[in-house]
């Protein structure tokens, strides 16, 4: 037995430390003084990797008895669900992440780090995980926290039908309180990514027996909800009894809802909010030279997916998807739609962020209009093809659709765009039904997730209805083997396979943006915005 952390050291190193970006007063001062272009600033952050890590540490070390001052006002999209089992959006996770606690957090280096669980042990066969829980934790209602709460929470997560965690935790055969503050998980099969699964977005610990989590907030987290005004804002104050010494360092966090990212950015500019994380590239670049605001971006593995249903015409002819891939100019899309922020896509969900698994030799063929036309003609679409492209109305997706329409028009594909509100598009399973659609996928700490829910035969969110025996076998290998080399090989094969016949196009991976008032320091961006941690954030303004 060894501390689980070591298992992943190699992986972490490969992942690269480029993830990190720390927002510091010093840096922002520098930005104001010298930075001319957004590009420069990003480079500064990349160059300062190691230092960044230390800064985070030093920030945390500070004086532990610091008074809690300042309220961080954050702009986010309105939330709908507050019960951790049902949350999904960035803003919902962000709220829950500060009201409740996870057992384990994944830090910005993709290391599992302690939260409610202070340490953990894995059995040799990889089937038993034992977690020690922090002492002195109390619920917001004053009652003490115990292992029973963890057991109850995980039983709820894995037995409630129709929830995302029902499948995720199907591998768990038992959760037991093996001590007052010790809990043991038993698995059916080895899962190299189990600690990451324990840190799933929904795996926030609720008090045993809670029935009204969809209307009330009783967590152990760093902030208590003072006022929730649906569709408008949620106001939180520091939990004075929080179990991590010296945290949180803020007196409160207000999350103010904005339907409109442009309005949020205006508010940031006008000093009415302090932090915005969801914004288009255009808005992000407009904030570059604004005094008093520090901007930063980090790469993520989030991406927009263009997928064609492969189980019926026209997508059941591989030549059609091949032609569409050839018709797509990924570089132009990255430059125009994302204004160059982020990374070029290679039609697979295993992006360059996972540098242990990303295969740099897996490059989709360059754009070739003639070849695409020829393929379409072979497939029986010599006179062109008419198809509707469905897309949610958020982010740069309508722009992506507009650019694709133009690019594909050159090969004779006449695209009609249908933009729907995100909630409508995802709300009624329409996104799983349509032939051609664009879907946004958030960044995850490890790539297996995408394969399991999106691409293996019969996967729940297999929106392209992709079914390929070779792929399924490769994905299974990658997801269960404890041999890292085997996994790397499988992921490489998968990337080549998807470029060749996967009914998906991934033109780019996002960058995660953040812009914060200089009144605050100590914030690290997270590739998944919802998991941004406000505990170390300090008020340094006046």
């Amino acid at each position: 037995m060894e501390l689980s952390g070591t298992n992943f050291r190699l992986y972490n190193k490969r992942l690269g430390i480029t993830l990190i970006f720390v927002l510091l007063m010093a840096l922002s001062a520098c930005t104001r003084g010298t930075a001319e272009t957004p590009g420069e600033q990003v480079e500064t952050s990349d160059g300062a990797t190691a230092g960044g890590v230390e800064e985070v540490t030093s920030g945390e070390v500070g004086d532990t008895k610091a008074e809690r001052v300042g309220t961080l006002r954050v702009a986010m999209q309105p939330i709908v669900n507050i019960d951790p089992i049902a949350i999904s959006s960035d803003s919902e996770v962000l709220v829950a992440n500060h009201v409740y606690d996870y057992l384990i957090d994944i830090d910005s280096l993709s290391n599992p780090v302690p939260r409610l669980a202070t340490e953990w042990k894995t059995s040799e066969d990889g089937l038993t995980y034992t977690l020690e829980l922090a002492e002195g934790v109390t619920w917001h209602d004053g009652s003490p926290f115990s292992a029973q709460d963890v057991v109850w929470t995980f039983d709820r997560l894995r037995t409630t039908e129709g929830t995302p965690t029902f499948d995720l935790y199907s591998n768990i055969t038992g959760v037991e309180a093996t001590g007052g503050l010790e809990v043991t998980f038993t698995l059916a099969n080895p899962n190299p990514f189990f600690l990451y699964d324990l840190s799933d977005n929904h795996a926030l610990i609720l008090k045993a027996g809670t029935t009204d989590a969809d209307t009330t907030f009783n967590g152990t987290g760093p902030f208590k909800v003072k006022n929730y005004s649906p569709e408008d804002r949620i106001e939180m104050v520091a939990n004075e009894d929080y179990f991590v010494l010296g945290q949180p360092r803020l007196a409160g966090v207000d999350i103010i809802f904005f339907n409109d990212d442009a309005a949020a950015v205006e508010a940031l500019r006008g000093g009415q909010i302090d932090l915005a994380m969801r914004m288009s590239t255009a808005l992000f670049s407009s904030l570059q030279d604004v005094p008093g605001i520090t901007t930063s971006s980090i790469p993520t593995n989030g991406f927009d997916l263009i997928r064609l249903r492969s189980d019926r015409a026209p997508g059941n002819d591989p030549r059609v998807i091949q032609a569409l891939k050839l018709a797509t100019d990924r570089e132009a899309i990255l430059n125009v739609v994302q204004q160059g922020y982020g990374a070029l896509g290679n039609d697979s969900p295993i992006g360059p962020l996972y540098d242990a698994y990303h295969d740099e030799t897996a490059i989709p063929p360059a754009r070739d209009v003639e070849a695409a036309r020829a393929l379409l003609a072979e497939a029986g679409y010599a006179d062109g093809m008419k198809i509707t492209l469905h897309t949610p109305d958020t982010g740069g997706r309508p722009d992506l659709a507009a650019v694709l329409k133009e690019q594909w028009a050159e090969v004779g594909v006449d695209v009609e765009i249908s933009v729907e509100p995100e909630s409508v598009y995802y709300g009624d399973d329409g996104w799983l039904e349509v032939d051609l659609g664009i879907t946004g996928w958030g960044s995850r700490p490890y790539p297996q997730f995408y394969l399991d829910v999106m691409l293996v035969s019969g996967a729940k969110w297999n929106e392209s209805h992709f079914s390929d025996a070779e792929f399924d076998a490769l994905a299974a290998t990658a997801g269960t083997t404890l041999d890292e080399e085997e996994r790397i090989k499988a992921y490489s094969d998968i990337q080549h396979l998807l470029i060749e016949r996967g009914p998906i196009i991934i033109p780019y991976y996002f960058a995660q943006f953040g812009a914060i008032s200089d009144n605050f320091s100590g914030l690290s961006l997270n590739a998944f915005a919802g998991r941004t941690d406000f505990r170390p954030v300090r008020f340094v303004g006046n």
Partner: protein
Amino acid sequence: MPVQSKMSLTPDSPLSVNPSRISRWAGAFHALFSTKATALGTTIVLIFVVVAFIAPLIAPYGVNEQIYSDARQAPSADHWFGTDHLGRDVFSRVLYGASDILFLAGLGTAMAVMCGTAVGLLSGYAGGMVDEIMMRFFDSLLAMPALLLALLLLGTLGPSRNSVFIVMVIVYTPIVARVVRSVVLSVRSKGFVEAARLQGESIEWVLFREILPSVTPTLAVEAALRFSYAIFLVASLGFLGVGVQPPSPNWGLMVNEARPHVGQLPWALFFPAAAIAIVVIGVNLMADGVKRLLQA
């Protein structure tokens, strides 16, 4: 008390509604250019309509043509109104947008005017229960702010060009019908209509030859007003993202799409917004002219 005076008066404008068929049109035409303001309005509307038809001929670039190398450019000789974030020529898109607005707002208005006229004529002429029920129904539609009704309907129909068209017809038909009905009620009791009834004229003749022509002038003003509101509605729905779909060159949608870029690409927002304003003002000015024509 000797009183002696010599007086001169300028008579009211000698324009009148219908001197004869030909000169009636000439008179209308004259009236639409009678003052500087209405002349300006009429000119704007004429240019707008012409542009709507010949946009493909005069636009220097395609409506969705994306020149990546030219993206995000300020107005220049190559791109009079600059380019947007996707490298589309704003000038060309504004030109194409004219036809989008004309055919959506214009046809929507025309359809609403037609439906409203038909319903208003029948309801006003028939009177009684038919009239009562129609009017109560319309009251209930009009009890909702137009945009609210439009949003509800679009929620039901789903966002698309056709939905916007249908919504416009549903939202504006009651308004037009009420206007028409009120004119019908006043015309219905006039001697010439009663004379026609006494002469055994058919209902169609009475409605369409006796009553309708008298409704037409009011209808013209109403249609012009509706049209300017329709432009607004189409633009507002585009702005709220529930109307016509991208990459349509709808002016409201263009403003919405340009909004995140306003700091860097203000021209991409300014020109379509100005286009909306100018056309709405033009239509309003022309409507004033039509109104004056009626009052003369």
